[in-house]
Amino acid sequence: MSKENGFLIILILLLALLPLSESRFYLFLGTDILIMGLFAVSLNLLLGYTGLVCFGQGAFFGVGAYTYTLLIKKISLSFPLAFIAAPVGGAIAALIIGFFCIQRTKIYFAMLTLAFSQIVWAIVFKWNSLTGGDNGIIGIPFPQHLDSPTRFYYFTLAVVVLSFYILRKTVSSPFGRILTTIRENPERTEFIGIHVKHFQLLAFVISGAFSAVAGALFAILNHSIFPDLLYWPQSAEVLIMTLLGGMYSFFGPLAGAAVILYLRMLVTSYTQYWPLIMGTILALILFFFPGGIVGFLKERRIFHGGGG
């Protein structure tokens, strides 16, 4: 078994042991990190692997959260169906939004993702009768057989591990390799016979679906959701997690999520000026650690490097 796979197995085992710490606090934090880690890794499929700078990933996260919640609360759909509906909703949203966004490139693409995520936010925000608008939706219960933080933690761990497995397979496949060529040079990729837009759209759909899964998990964990999940600073936060962890590695964004959430917990217990810290971290990454944590560690030869 390769060194990396061995390391991963150990990590999963350690994570599985977390509930033994008997701390509700760390259990919550652990679940949160797994969820945001999934969110960040799914964003990275677009950002790090395909080279698409998406400022509106929060839209898919929010769509997942609201789809699940509304199905559970408004029509009392069974948990398995409602949970599956989340990534389906995310995929559809990504299909529509992605289709329009990929018509343009670079800065215009980024602004389009921003515009669309704001459209989704505005719809959620204003459609009071459906979404509760600004008041959000509260009182989202744990699903029937997962009705304790520990059980939900294990469920989240299982879902996230499975999702990572699928995503990992995807990026290591020929499809994933083509995504990186699109990132490196879309023009050249076009002229090795690839319909670049199709691939970008596929990446969007996959990314959106998994972000939506993260959103649904988030809704259950917090027992409530609010429109600001979809407001653009939320999208910016996950972008920072991805960059902090390292956008050219697969697990980097997970590490980034862990660091950011842990730091946030520490900082907010002392001061309200968490944005200040986050801004500083972001600036430090940009100036001194462009490869993020994983990039930094790779340079120090703690990990073996591996191509794009």
Partner: protein
């Protein structure tokens, strides 16, 4: 193999291509020459579908490719290298070539098999051909310009084209590198029976391997013929007064 008729293209009022027509037969080695700004790269871009034509038609293997998307033209059997090197910088040389093979062999939409196992032999064969075997695991972007051009050639070849369009393949190379590249191109073209259309500034190269030369000036073809005919053509001499090596 390739027929262009009355190609026209303007950018914001500036006429880059002004009614260019020509035919290229299978197996020919044709070069396009012309002073800077004559419109050579634009012409290539028009043929390969990178920029849309204002007027005119292009037929490749009797198929009308005038409005076809670049990726489909490529799949029909046209390969191309670009003037400013266009490779995948953060991927290794091996991965650069392999990617082109993945696309060409229709494996690009495979999701669940690890990519490293695909087409190892074929990739190594191409690397061998373009002389990059020892650099297989080096990152493309870290290599020198000359090597990157070889990677370019490798990528173009991986698509198993029937017609190869090379945009200034020896630009920026030393005399030795130029000779090596030209020998390589000549050898591959003969071995694979490729049709070759290339643009060049280096007159020595042009006159040594072209079977036919077309001269472009201000967006129009002003002369066409064998190297001897072109050398003696007074119009061409006028245009090139003082130019060339």
């Amino acid at each position: 193999m390739l027929t262009a008729q009355n190609l026209k293209k303007s950018f914001d009022g500036f006429v880059a291509t002004n009614g260019v027509s020509f035919t290229i037969q299978k197996g020919e080695l044709v070069s396009i020459i012309g002073p800077n700004g004559a419109g050579k790269t634009t012409l290539f871009n028009l043929i390969t579908g990178h920029i849309p034509l204002d007027a005119g038609t292009v037929k490749f293997k009797r198929i009308d490719i005038t409005r076809m998307a670049s990726y489909r033209i490529c799949r029909l059997g046209m390969g191309r290298s670009f003037q400013r090197t266009n490779i995948f910088p953060r991927l290794t040389v091996f991965q650069n070539i392999q990617a082109a093979l993945l696309a060409h062999k229709g494996k690009s939409l495979t999701f669940f098999k690890p990519v490293d196992s695909f087409f190892r032999e074929e990739t190594e064969e191409i690397l061998e051909r373009v002389g990059l075997k020892e650099y297989a695991e080096t990152t493309g972007g870290s290599l020198s310009y000359g090597f990157q051009k070889q990677i370019e050639l490798g990528i173009a070849l991986a698509s198993e084209p029937e017609l190869l369009l090379l945009d200034e393949p020896t630009a920026g190379m030393s005399a030795q590198e130029t000779h090596q590249t030209i020998d390589l191109i000549g050898k591959i073209t003969r071995e694979k029976g490729l049709t070759l259309l290339f643009t060049e500034h280096d007159m020595e190269v042009v006159f040594s391997i072209s079977q036919r030369i077309m001269v472009l000036h201000q967006g129009r073809l002003i002369a066409e013929g064998t190297p001897e005919e072109i050398r003696r053509n007074p119009e061409v001499q006028k245009v090139y007064l003082g130019e060339g090596r």
